[in-house]
Amino acid sequence: MNLRQFTLNRKLAMLAVALGTLALLAQPHRGPFVKLDARELASVVEEEVDHVTASELATWIVEGRADYRLLDLRTAEGYAAYHIPTAENVPLTGLADYPLLRNEKLVLYSEGGIHSAQAWMLLRAQGYEAVYMVLGGLDAWKDEVLFPSLPADADAAARAQFERATQVAKFFGGEARVAGGAAPPTVGAELPKLAAPPPMPAPATPIAKKKKKEGC
């Protein structure tokens, strides 16, 4: 077949039909499948750059930092009963469809740490780079931030830190435990009510008021 005899338009048409026919076999959507770089993930875990502590998170919230998104991976009921201020509720199963930008910094927490560890793995596998778990989850939040305690034999540095922790606890509606006092409360009843949110200097931009970014 001598291609010269066809005009440009005819050639374009033939090219289009050829490409269109080959496309019959195409499956362009990744779907739910992901690729895992096992070695890379293992080294991230080992270097311990995969998590933040509850105290660190508390400091960020107090400072009014808005460069990350805090995700609560529990059910809606758990979230409604109590959640860390500025957290968004995203149950584990809804994570894949939740609108998150790949370049956003994500901080995850669950009750303890199992679900957040699993979600961390899933998100990393989907290409999110800046994902961090709250070490110890909500349990650690209660223990370190809301109801900090001071061991009886604490030194001066520890006492100073405890003073700070007490202030932070007040900020979040909790209170410091008396040295060597009762075990931390475990039920929701003692957790600070969310009715009066703590006054935050510069609240993280609520999604609703963000400027319209996509779309035409």
């Binding site: 289009a16 269109g20 496309a23 019959l24 959507h29 990744r30 780079e129």
Partner: protein, 196 residues
């Protein structure tokens, strides 16, 4: 492959604005190349003697469509991360009708009006002023028509999903329809041009 680049954090918002400008350059360049800086050429589509709007638009659609299909297939583009405007069937059908009428009355669409006014078409400038006025009017009445505007929300849905067909099959169908359409359009142009 880590694309779309922006969604994988290769650059931030400031740079994306530069990207926007450069993409716009290409967009405007080809719009004008095709002659879409001229209202007469654009309107001619609806009088059948110049079907360029149809030809250019569908060629662009087919090119883009084949592009994302192949790039997605070989894993060079994460198609799930490309933004899809959510479907609101009723408003979009009505909006399309209104836009079609506006096209014939005004002679442009928003993108081509910018291309035309950049090349000195005063009617395109007036048209753009009309867009501003219309947008203002829309913004004012928006609260009262909000329910109508958000009717039939179907989320982000594609033709293959709606018809339960494989993506590749729909792509093939679109290509065939386009090629047949182009052949037919050329025939129509000849017929319309030969009439008095």
């Amino acid at each position: 492959m880590m694309t779309p680049l922006y969604k994988y954090g290769f650059f931030g918002e400031e740079f994306s604005l530069l990207v926007a400008f450069v993409l716009g350059l290409g967009f405007g360049f080809f719009l004008e190349r095709a002659g879409f800086g001229s209202a007469r050429k654009l309107a001619a589509q609806f009088y059948l003697y110049d079907m360029s709007v149809f030809k250019v638009m569908f060629t662009a659609i087919v090119t883009g469509m084949l592009g994302v299909t192949y790039l997605g297939w070989i894993g060079w583009l994460d198609l799930d991360l490309v933004y899809l405007v959510p479907t609101f069937l009723g408003p979009q059908i009505v909006g399309g009708l209104v836009l079609g009428v506006g096209f014939v009355v005004g002679g442009y669409c928003p993108g081509t009006s910018v291309a035309a006014l950049a090349t000195g078409r005063i009617d395109a400038l007036v048209y753009a002023l009309g867009i501003f006025t219309g947008t203002f009017a829309y913004a004012e009445v928006y609260p009262s028509i909000k329910d109508l505007v958000n009717a039939n929300p179907m989320g982000q849905v594609t033709l293959p999903e709606v018809f339960g067909l494989p993506w590749g099959l729909v792509v093939f169908a679109v290509v065939v329809i386009a090629v047949v359409g182009f052949w037919g359009a050329t025939k129509i142009e000849l017929w319309a041009g030969s009439r008095p």
